[in-house]
Symmetry: C2
């Protein structure tokens, strides 16, 4: 039995609403994460207003990274909380674990971003109450959060007490990132807490204001201001008549000196300005109140959906909901205009992975932005450009040249921020060292790959000249220094790495890594030639930075002599790395069946897992997806089947890729199975796996599985190919993509594809046919 319900939306909200249908205090983390609200500037976990054991309140503001001490790495600090309300009814603290709850429903409305909760409560003494909670984070003004609570005593007049304020005692699992700061309550309704991160010295202002009504009129309240350590709040006491409704609105604002506005400002000026503006904004938004703020935000969401929606007509309504869920999260996880910040692996929805960016962004999330919101994709790649300094530092620290991208990235100056220590070794009980920051190196090629993908899709010459070429050249340079000569093989290899499959550490010649490094170097080599020939000014500029002649020669040498694992003659299987086929096979049934990821760790430690033919996630399979035309369909099929059998999909990055590749290979049932699997990673009924935040790569994957998979979009050949193939369950799929500034509305049915070009003339390959679609025209092709 699950408490998740996907079918409550009706009318205009059909397949727009995710519902938690009962309260179960064991599973608080699930909806705290998946009901997370935000706007790219900040993310707010959907913790309940009243407190429960096991809750994790969280509010994260992009880019505000801080390091607790030298033993820890930079992370996004958890901001002072404004969600908590201490509600007392007739002198007794309110909690849903006391008394009886009926008609409980908590929903995330994907259409307007509102989270609501309503229920009928009978207290232990028998008095009855109607409760309704609402909360929003504004899409109109990124600094604004608003909440409203309505309580109606049904059976008796009652005294209600609400304590509400700003709570700076929250931490990141015990690590406090903020000074206590300055606290102020003024005019009996406004609260202000201005604190500062301890190491990065970001000043953060959290404000809140209250408005209280009974039956729509300002309520008569008595109030008491309370200032405690790290806490300010006001206690309001109101007598509410039976049948009357008490409405308590809390309007909050969040600002920091790391806000984009203050980029380049003098610190003192930024501080002064920020405090001033924050205080002013509070007055404005308090005046507006919840309903108007919601309206404003709704209008912004309407625009998002008008541009972004993917429409699915499926036997399973869930598919449409899942796509919307994915697009909702994709649009609240990134600050689209701020190239100083990346996307966290858990977005802004939880502490997990500390707000750090991984290859998840480039490989699993960027395709969505590249094909729908080119500016955002550019912003995200500019972030990687700004991280070059740290990447170069990492290369030097590791004895290499060029740019070696950090496995985990935080603030642009931070460089490598992968923590050094992780979970327990199940056998020895000791803490395990995290090796990814040292030896999971494919990210450097992944970034270069994404830059080129972006260019293919956008033809953004300005970006390439300012940022793109430099990233590709410097990453390629890294690889030339990274290769090791293998006497035995008589060629270069890349030893001692972790590939995408993180169940294998310290491997040599990981197929994915080697092929992507090859791709990276080959691309750089080609670009050096092209620049010399076609863009001499740019060439000269880079000549100052790189010795391009010499680099070109090194690249040629490396490209020719790098060992890239190829399919074995007899089997057609590409070895994931040297010696993979020698590893022991074990029965994986138990782990494949488990709905909880990582259960193999309960039985084996890393050393043991390292010795088995078992994959955490696709590795060769991702290679086959990214370098689409590298191998024949037959080789792809053989490898897909071979490796999938051995893959536990214990990474959120795995299922969507498998779905796309399966679809490419005509394995329709599998493709749909993995699509559904990808959709369920956060949205599904497994109640604990999203506790520390949603999986941002996974929601990117849902979109990819739909649009790149069933929708058949691929750009690997340098051209746009649309080769759709719907699963049995679907009748129609409609999506929008932007190809070189032209928006294409693609409608796919079982038999045909219709492409409506809302922009200038473009060429699209459908099936094997190259089609020219003129401005404003549509084509229909049978498939």
């Amino acid at each position: 039995m699950t408490i998740m319900d996907y079918k409550r939306g009706s009318g205009e909200f059909l397949n727009w609403v995710v519902t938690e249908s009962a309260f179960d205090s064991r599973y608080l983390g699930k909806c705290e994460s998946i009901f997370c609200q935000g706007n790219g500037y900040m993310g707010l976990r959907a913790a309940l207003e009243e407190q429960y054991v096991g809750e994790t309140r969280g509010m994260f503001v992009t880019g505000t990274f801080n390091k607790f001490d030298d033993g820890e790495v930079s992370e996004l600090p958890n901001f002072p909380d404004i969600t908590k309300l201490m509600i007392s009814i007739g002198g007794h603290p309110f909690g849903m674990d006391r008394g009886t709850i009926k008609n409980y429903e908590r929903t995330l409305n994907l259409k307007n971003g509102e989270v609501t909760r309503s229920f009928h409560w009978t207290c232990d003494k028998g008095d009855e109450f109607e409760f309704r909670f609402r909360r929003m984070v504004s899409m109109e003004n990124e600094h604004v959060i608003a909440a409203a609570v309505e309580i109606t005593p049904v059976t008796e007049d009652i005294q209600i007490e609400i304590e509400s304020g700003i709570d700076g005692t929250v931490t990141n699992t015990g690590s406090q990132h903020f000074s206590e700061g300055a606290k102020r309550i003024y005019e009996n309704r406004f609260l202000e807490m201005i604190s500062e991160t301890t190491q990065s010295h970001v000043l953060a202002a959290v404000h809140a204001a209250h408005k209280i009504f009974t039956d729509g009129k300002p309520a008569e309240v008595t109030l008491l201001p309370i200032i405690d350590r790290r806490v300010i709040r006001i206690r309001y006491t109101v007598n509410v008549k039976k049948g009357s409704t008490l409405r308590f609105e809390k309007i909050s604002a969040v600002h920091t000196t790391r806000d984009l506005k203050y980029d380049g400002w003098k610190e003192d000026d930024a501080r002064e300005d920020m405090k001033l503006r924050a205080g002013q904004l509070l007055m404005d938004i308090c005046e507006k109140g919840y309903d108007r703020l919601l309206k404003e935000s709704e209008r912004k969401w309407e625009k998002v959906w008008n541009k972004q929606e993917v429409k699915i007509s499926s036997r399973n309504d869930f598919d449409q909901l899942a796509l919307r869920f994915a697009i909702y999260h994709l649009n609240i996880m990134v600050k689209k205009d701020d190239s100083r910040v990346g996307i966290g692996a858990k977005a802004l929805s939880g502490e997990g992975y500390k707000g750090h960016s991984f290859w998840d962004t480039e490989i699993f999330i960027l395709p969505y932005f590249m094909l729908t919101q080119s500016e955002t994709a550019r912003t995200l790649l500019e972030y990687r450009y700004k991280c070059l300094k740290g990447a170069r530092r990492k290369a030097i620290e590791n004895g290499y040249e060029g740019a070696m991208y950090p496995w985990e990235s935080a603030w642009i100056e931070d460089g490598e921020v992968t923590p050094l220590w992780g979970a327990a070794d199940v056998v020895t009980g000791e803490t395990l060292k995290i090796l990814t920051g040292l030896i999971e190196q494919h990210i450097t090629a992944d970034v270069a790959y994404a830059v080129w993908q972006y260019y293919i899709i956008s033809r953004d010459e300005d970006f390439m000249e300012r940022y793109g070429y430099e990233i590709i050249l410097d990453t390629a340079k890294f690889w030339t220094s990274r290769l090791e000569w293998d006497e035995e093989k008589g060629c270069y290899g890349i030893k001692d790495v972790i590939g995408p499959d993180e169940y294998k550490e310290h491997v040599d010649n990981n197929a994915y890594t080697n092929h992507l490094a090859f791709y990276n170097m080959k691309l750089a080599s080609k670009l050096i030639c092209e620049l010399k020939a076609e863009k001499p000014v740019v060439y000269t500029r880079f000549q100052e930075q790189f010795d391009l002649e010499e680099l070109g020669e090194r690249l040629t040498e490396c490209i020719h002599k790098l060992y890239c694992p190829l399919p074995e003659k007899e089997t057609g299987i590409i070895p994931q790395f040297d010696g993979f086929f020698d590893l022991k096979s074990i029965d994986l049934t138990k782990y494949k069946k488990s709905s909880v990821v990582g259960t193999i760790y309960n039985d084996y430690n890393m050393e043991q897992i390292n010795s088995f033919q078992v994959l955490k996630q696709g590795d060769v399979v991702v290679l086959l997806y990214l370098l689409d035309d590298l191998f024949s369909e037959e080789i792809k099929r053989k490898n897909y089947l071979y490796y999938e059998e051995r893959t536990l999909h214990d990474s959120s990055l795995s299922k969507a890729t498998h779905s796309v590749l399966a679809n490419d290979l005509g394995l329709k049932e599998e493709a749909y199975h993995f699509f559904e699997g990808a959709c369920c990673i956060d949205l599904g009924t497994e109640m604990k796996s999203s506790n520390s935040g949603i999986h941002s790569a996974s929601v990117g994957g849902i979109w990819q599985a739909a649009v790149m998979g069933f929708g058949g979009v691929r750009v690997t050949s340098g051209q746009l190919r649309i080769n759709p193939s719907l699963p049995e369950e679907w009748n129609e799929l409609e999506y929008r993509i932007v190809w070189r500034n032209s928006t294409l509305v693609v409608t796919v049915t079982r038999d045909e594809v219709k492409i409506l070009n809302q922009g200038k003339e473009v060429t699209v390959i459908v099936g094997k046919k190259e089609l020219l679609i003129s401005e404003g025209a549509a084509i229909v092709e049978s498939i």
Copy 2:
């Protein structure tokens, strides 16, 4: 209706047991604090094993002060928690707020220091269980904590899961003092967390070990080690048959490099040795197990009680219990052999007052130790000696000379640590500035007063020569620099202070302060003369440090010209400070009736309270108590009555003093009323006032009210006077005091007093008679 029950002890535990008779999650803080366990080295709040909203887990180790950042002051950090257990019964988390609880009883056994909890639980599904929890902090080995849980399924076989470990996510209300440190689980039962305070660099090792039995035999368990951020734990799963008892023991150890053992060690050596010893001790105590550790600790408690008990035969059994409660806490709040640490205002029982020492120690707690455990009193005064450096720094910073003691003291090097900001102003909502650190200055004289009291009682010449004289001289020197010439009065005054009554800020010539400063200077003046005449070597030594001639002259001048407020001719009332009688009187009935302290703040802000004739606590009254022979009984009575009428007793320091003075004045009913009030400050039925910790001065006050009040002990005239007078409710009182190394057992009935001298010959004044009691002899006097 109260959930506190004081009558559950019977047989050998009659009046030894404090009981919480029902579980009410609104009042968790009460018994967390008053059931606090410890041994002076550490204090452990009695938070329940399973978690509840509103709980405050706390473990504090004396002297481990750390400062979170420059905006905060040093405080005792909250140590990684070892009390939490996550218990699941049949797959559902256990909590007393689910299902039905019967026969609930939680007790603190004052006799052996054990806290137990037992109840019968029926889960929502109807299955029944017996639970019993036990916990102890060892008096035998200060590093040791042990706990045992017994669970018996009554109706069904059941699977029980217990997750237990070390949780380093705890903070001091959001401020984290420890690095994450090193975490280790070894041999599947031992856990180790070694973390370090962030600023003071104290290394702290917390260890835990588990032993699991069913029906007394090692249980068959499956286990899973879990290492998370700042957390290590092991999940044990056991199948328990109906009627069988699962017993889970958790044995823990706490060590730090600030342990007395390491005083003066090289840091690296201390770190190595500490880790080694801590690990070894864990093996030893794990081997012993709960029952043996409890036995060992019980034996130590037996010794404490044999020496310390005060026996009361009262119509109200509660009185005896309260005395034991006081003596219990007095004996766990101080590390008796470590002169680098003081006593916190909340002892080691909570975060309140940050572990800081106030005048509470000298005036309200030290009398107990001076008269019962001279070595401990000496240790505590040596602490003040070690704080001289900070006191001198404070004097210089404030433009004075000599030693100006900090209002709040932490680590010996810290100097003044009073925080700058406190609670909210109820009128403006702004944070109030805390002025005590700047202008509550009487503590400097209080320390000197206590030093001399100690000497009178102990005749400890060694102490005086090493520490005592220097404290008295340097504090007196401070006062000479502190006095201000008042042209109008034609004498010296002390302006702009806070006296003991903290509802009055910025007052001039506070009677208490001026008289104590006078006492301090006069004492120093006298000692300079005596040293010169009788101890020329000591005199010469101090001559190097102070210019004693010059200081002597300054003292004479100051003593002669200091204005000390005297009783007004007409009324006999001593003005608490200049202009007190001009203040407005308001009706205090409402606040006097309130069982919650500080309620006047709900109606008035500090500025308003400053303008009323209202006292937080005794001020002139404390003066009359300390300087016993300064005024006639008539003057004392007049002042007692006048000021008591205006006193809200909103400080835990107030009631006990009033009890003693009332008893001196023959106001027997009032004396008993205030004694009972003092006993109830922590132990009583007010359920929230002890949340942040017990009031250490108040438990000292309970003892004083009994022994100095009804027991009639006073030493002000330089001699021991015993002038007892029992309240109506009491038939007999027996106490032990140590007077100049002789232990006197004093038994008081309504009519007579019997004094048994267990030591060498002493002189005691009983009533007005001076009596010589020979070694081993007893005298009986009617009263």
